[in-house]
């Protein structure tokens, strides 16, 4: 029923882990988004995370902050976002996860937003400022319509991890390091320990994806080796999109994606 769940099952059968690639919709424009998605699909990404910009992205580092600002300035509205998603859906049935902040959904109404998103072709949501304590209405609106991916952190207690795992569907998003997206700290021992711990606690009931600060094939390799079911790469893609001219964008995205995906084959 869930495209994301099916994808993880399919990968397991093929003895692979998942590469989840993030891009900010409308950065730097609609055309680049469509092209980048083509590149991601051809390069072998398993799931695509589409960012919808928010004016105050507190969990994001400067790369995604800047992309949000540019996208908003270019006029990325919710209706525009959904129309882009529909265009993407005509080309691919890859699972699409929408990442944005709580206020965007709250303001429109959780039910209304989620049903419109679903109609456009969105399969799940990631809201980095949505804590489980405040999630009742959101969960109710998403139930049966979209997956709700919650985040955990290396400092999340075991009892809390279990509570969060219970309301998460699709996958569980482990924030690799203390910091915002795009942070450069290198691979930490505490992250590797956290991956093992979460895997043990969740007993394979839900896949565990690791994100924040992952930018190279080597990063991917190490996190997969530590037991992650998926890795999420975001800011590195935005940097690539920013510096690549439109006519070379698809091929550049393909080759970068291939280099990351290779590390998820066991």
């Amino acid at each position: 029923m869930s495209k994301i769940k099916d994808k993880f099952a399919e990968l397991e059968a093929k003895n692979q882990k998942a590469l989840i690639s993030y891009i900010m919709v409308g950065f730097p424009n609609e055309k680049a988004t469509i092209t980048a998605v083509r590149g991601l699909v051809k390069g072998g990404a398993d799931i695509i995370e589409l960012g919808f910009p928010f004016s105050d992205p507190i969990a994001d580092g400067h790369v995604i902050q800047n992309a949000s600002t540019v996208s908003l300035k270019k006029g990325t509205k919710i209706s525009k976002f959904f129309s882009i998603v529909k265009k993407i859906r005509k080309e691919t049935d890859i699972p699409l996860v929408l990442m944005t902040y709580t206020n965007i959904l709250y303001h429109k109404g959780y039910s209304k937003f989620i049903s419109e998103a679903k109609k456009a072709g969105i399969d799940g949501f990631i809201l980095p400022d949505m804590s489980i304590e405040e999630s009742k209405e959101y969960l109710k609106a998403a139930k049966g319509n979209a997956d709700t991916v919650f985040l955990i952190s290396p400092n999340t207690s075991n009892t809390r991890i279990q509570k969060i795992a219970k309301v998460s569907t699709g996958f569980l998003y482990l924030v690799a390091v203390y910091g915002t997206t795009g942070i450069k700290t290198g691979i930490k021992n505490y992250t590797l320990k956290a991956i093992k711990n979460v895997k043990k606690l969740t007993k394979g009931k839900i896949p565990v994806g690791v994100g924040f600060g992952i930018s190279t094939p080597n990063d991917v390799k190490k996190y997969i080796k530590a037991g992650a079911d998926a890795v999420i790469v975001g800011s590195a893609y935005l940097k690539l999109i920013e510096k690549t001219p439109q006519n070379k964008l698809e091929s550049k995205i393909i080759s970068f994606t291939k280099s990351l995906k290779k590390q998820t084959l066991l």
Binding site: Q65, Y106, K108, E134, L151, I164, G179
Partner: protein, 395 residues
């Protein structure tokens, strides 16, 4: 409302935060609940409030101003006389002391007008800690005197260049720092905003204002008919109102109407905003149809914020507190009137409350009394006012 259940004031408040901050917020609440009624903690805080910050502050009968207006009597709660020049020190001493008990080594804060930054730097210096402060780039220019003060006090000031380059963006950046350094760092928030327990904790530390007003009015055998305070995030206002919330006094919070509520160039969140989620809380916000936070304007940097404390949102909806607004022009007039009649230079933030008090006093009876919280002094603002007057040819 004494202590909000689940961190909610009615439907407002809560904790909408990245998961990384959850353990820090839980640790904070646990320690706050442990220390808030602890005798030693209270004694230590009272000591600093008294001999370091200069409490209690006087309640001054503004005779000249009241007589000039010919109506109700205006009393000024002189928070401007506190060390540092604003009510902010009530909260920073409380939180810095708490941070010390929690054995936190590093303190970060955001600041708008710079008053909270200065008060944080002072409290930290007094308690032997180091502070680092985020301040919107625009605010570092228009409140540069306070940047110098923080610098002198040994506090690092980081200008923030993102978004509207004001208080909202300084808070974003402080939260990002906190996420990154969560294990070592205490975030000393300056207003009654943010995720639970900040709104209630800041309110409690600021309630010393209302508690003193209560006993000072009693001493002169009066009960306030009206209480007036300015509202940005709303910490001096909630500190003024909360201890008297069960009384019959009329309460008015005054927001920044900037160039007018219709101009879009204002910061009047409660007067013109809609419900939403920002900075960890559900509250009224200034936002567009899509839920994007809009840029605000006010002549006073301290009120230039698109959100407001969740308890104010609650009292707006329950109608216990009225929320009015004052335009930049009215504020400058009030600033000059108080300066000239009483020889008191108010902060532009506080001048919003004065502007409202002028209106209320004119309509009031001589037997009535109005208490206005003069949240800060205006030395920091004289240049801004001078520039304003130059731009708007006045007497």
């Amino acid at each position: 409302m004494k202590y909000p259940k689940n961190g909610r004031f009615g439907e407002f408040g809560g904790k909408y935060i990245p998961e990384t901050l959850v353990p820090a917020i839980e640790e904070l609440e646990e320690n706050y609940l442990k220390f808030k009624d602890d005798k030693t903690f209270k004694k230590e805080l009272d000591y600093y409030l008294k001999v370091y910050a200069g409490r209690p502050t006087p309640l001054y009968y503004a005779k000249n101003l009241s007589e000039k207006l010919g109506g109700a009597k205006i009393y000024l709660k002189r928070e401007d006389l506190l060390h540092g020049g604003a009510h902010k020190i009530n909260n920073t001493l409380g939180q810095a002391l708490l941070a010390k008990k929690m054995k936190k080594k590093r303190i970060i804060a955001e600041t708008g007008a710079g008053q909270h930054g200065v008060a944080t730097a002072m409290a930290c210096a007094a308690l032997g800690m180091k502070a680092e402060v985020y301040m919107g780039y625009k605010d570092t220019i228009r409140q540069k005197l306070n940047v110098f003060r923080m610098d002198m006090l040994g506090c690092k000031v980081y200008p923030v260049y993102s978004g509207s380059k004001t208080l909202k963006d300084a808070i974003n950046e402080a939260i990002r720092d906190w996420i990154t350094n969560v294990e070592t760092t205490y975030y000393l928030l300056g207003s009654a905003v943010g995720p639970h327990p900040y709104p209630v904790m800041v309110r409690d530390f600021q309630s010393v204002i209302g508690n003193e007003i209560k006993s000072q009015m009693k001493k002169i055998n009066r009960t306030p008919d009206s209480l007036i305070a300015c509202v940005g995030g709303g910490s001096n206002a909630i500190g003024t109102f909360h201890p008297l919330i069960d009384s019959n006094a009329e309460m008015i919070g005054v927001e920044a109407a900037g160039q007018g509520l219709k101009s879009k160039l204002h910061s009047a969140t409660l007067s013109a905003g809609t419900k939403g989620v920002l900075h960890g809380m559900m509250t009224y916000l200034l936002q567009d149809k899509e839920g994007q936070i809009t840029e605000t304007h006010s002549i006073s940097a301290g009120l230039d914020y698109p959100g407001v404390g969740p308890e104010h949102s609650y009292y707006k909806d329950t109608k216990r507190i009225k929320y009015h607004s004052a335009t930049d022009a009215e504020v400058v007039d009030a600033f000059l009137m108080l300066t000239r009649t009483e020889g008191i230079i108010p902060a532009l933030e506080s001048a919003h409350a004065i502007a409202e008090a002028i209106k209320v006093a004119r309509k009031g009876k001589k037997s009535e009394s109005i208490v206005v919280t003069l949240s800060g002094r205006g030395d920091k603002d004289v240049e801004e006012v001078q520039n304003y007057l130059k731009r708007n040819v006045k007497d």
